[in-house]
Symmetry: C2
Subunit: 315 residues, 2 copies
């Protein structure tokens, strides 16, 4: 469930464009006005506003926002305003660049989006960067990370809910065997995680748990400091229980010395229209106090107001 709140009566894209234009003009920027508009429009509405803004003023709304805003607030507003596939393409590209490289962001996008959403990310990626997401991920990763990430971003996963129980049992056994041998990068282990449908994978992992007495993620904790094993566990969580994965990303981003705004902004902007409500419920269950209170405590100014608005709480 989304946390985004769209008013019952939405102004026309013309009116919204005009108000945004006003917010940019004069002495100083009217950040509150920008938040009151953009943080309360869904993806389709934001797209219409961008189109209308460009047609009316001959300027790109994103470029104007970039000029007017700064730092964490700027990044949050820009990411939010982008169309979801464009936004994911942008984040994925950033994740293949040296200074901002992140196996986690690549894994997260590949594992938590639907097959059709991921396809749209690939199309947006090609339109923006004139190359494929797959070639960039394959080129900029290496070793076990590459072995896992390339098929993860490449597969057009089946999304039906049919389950082959015989296969689930044989593959659970196969996984248990490989993990017993500490063959965490074995091609069959990677094949199962990266190509099976989420429904089939859940059946396999449930059988694993029932048959062998431990959740697979527990058995994958042999060496808690191993970065590849961490990513493998996170991948399994993303594929089977994404809210729990995102809850943990938020928890780690907030509850540390110095907030990780990069992660906080990414999760809030990419999930506000999808499942931030469910993530917040997980957060509440796992921590003392609600998510919005924790965000409010750790952030300030316009950035704080914007995130809280997306999280459904801007009283």
């Amino acid at each position: 469930m989304a946390t985004l709140k769209v008013p019952a009566q939405v102004p026309s894209p013309d009116q919204d464009s005009e108000q945004l234009r006003k917010a940019f003009q004069g002495w100083g920027t009217n950040e509150a006005l920008i938040i009151s508009i953009l943080a309360h429009r869904n993806a389709d509405q934001r797209k219409l506003i961008r189109g209308t803004y460009a047609a009316t003023y001959g300027e790109d709304l994103l470029k104007d926002l970039q000029k007017e805003l700064s730092s964490d607030f700027e990044r949050a507003v820009l990411l939010w305003t982008l169309d979801p596939p464009e936004r994911d393409a942008y984040l994925a590209n950033e994740a293949t660049k040296r200074l901002t490289s992140s196996n986690w962001v690549i894994m997260e996008i590949a594992s938590t989006r639907s097959a059709l959403e991921l396809l749209k990310v690939k199309q947006a990626y090609q339109a923006s960067f004139k190359k494929s997401l797959e070639e960039d991920v394959a080129y900029h990763t290496s070793g076990d990370f590459r072995k896992l990430l390339v098929p993860l971003v490449s597969t057009f996963r089946y999304e039906g809910d049919e389950v082959n129980m015989k296969l689930a049992k044989s593959e659970a056994k196969l996984l248990h065997g490989k993990i017993g041998e500490k063959a965490y990068n074995h091609e069959d282990l990677i094949r199962i995680l990266t190509t099976r449908s989420k429904a089939q994978l859940s059946a396999t992992l449930n059988h694993y748990n029932n048959e062998f007495g431990n959740a697979i993620t527990k058995d994958l904790k042999a060496d808690p400091g191993d970065e590849y094993l961490k990513l493998l566990r996170a991948t399994i969580k993303c594929l089977t229980y994404p809210e729990k994965y995102f809850e943990k990303v938020l928890r780690l981003a907030i509850n540390k010395t110095g907030t990780d705004e990069w992660a906080l902004t990414r999760v809030v902007t990419t999930r506000a229209e999808v499942d931030l409500q469910r993530i917040a419920e997980e957060y509440q269950r796992r921590n003392t106090g609600p998510l919005d209170r924790a965000i409010a405590k750790d952030t300030s100014g316009d950035y704080k107001s914007f995130l809280l608005a997306l999280a459904g709480n801007d009283d």
Copy 2:
């Protein structure tokens, strides 16, 4: 260029359906009538005929064809009548089955279709078989074949014609190094072939040829009997010069003791609407005599008439 000949005045789908229905009725089947219709309709027209036939007679045209026809002629008509993505999905699924398994067919479909065509094949595959093409290919292949085929069917390849020459040079060198070490299954060699755009790959392979004095396919002939190396060379041909690849498949299918009808039917039905004209030109250049004469010499009856009609020669 296609060889398919569609008449200037195409009868309506209603008329075609009625004629096909007539061809099935009475004593014996009217094969000539079936050929005169189906072998002269393009994919869109055949789809309309199937729809109209089902709506009018409450039967599936494919099932009726299956009942009326037999052997090689039956297979050719059925494959041809299928919508191209459905047909490829059918062929690819067959290629993962034990008795009809074929790494070549998987490679051919993955390498010679456009990115969007391959995506449609994946969608048709999921609709028909309730699982993904990727998981079946990954599950039913092994060793070096799996290493090559899984990314080959998975990547949504970029199709723009931009070329990064610096990258082409560095990757040509990388390929040459790996081939020098006989590391034919090296992950970088496979990464380059399976993820780079066809334009980029051509630039890389041209540079390879210019810089190192041999075509890469020649350097990959170290062990002519090695099945993996054969598939690797064929993959490169499919990606850079598909007409040549298909010419060779036809040449080997025809010029042997006992025709390989399986391959002949596949190439003629999948390419008649695409590039069979170009393939026939390659054939003429590489062999003594034209392709249609060779097909006529090696086949007979309705099967022969049907293939020749698709090849643009049914006088």
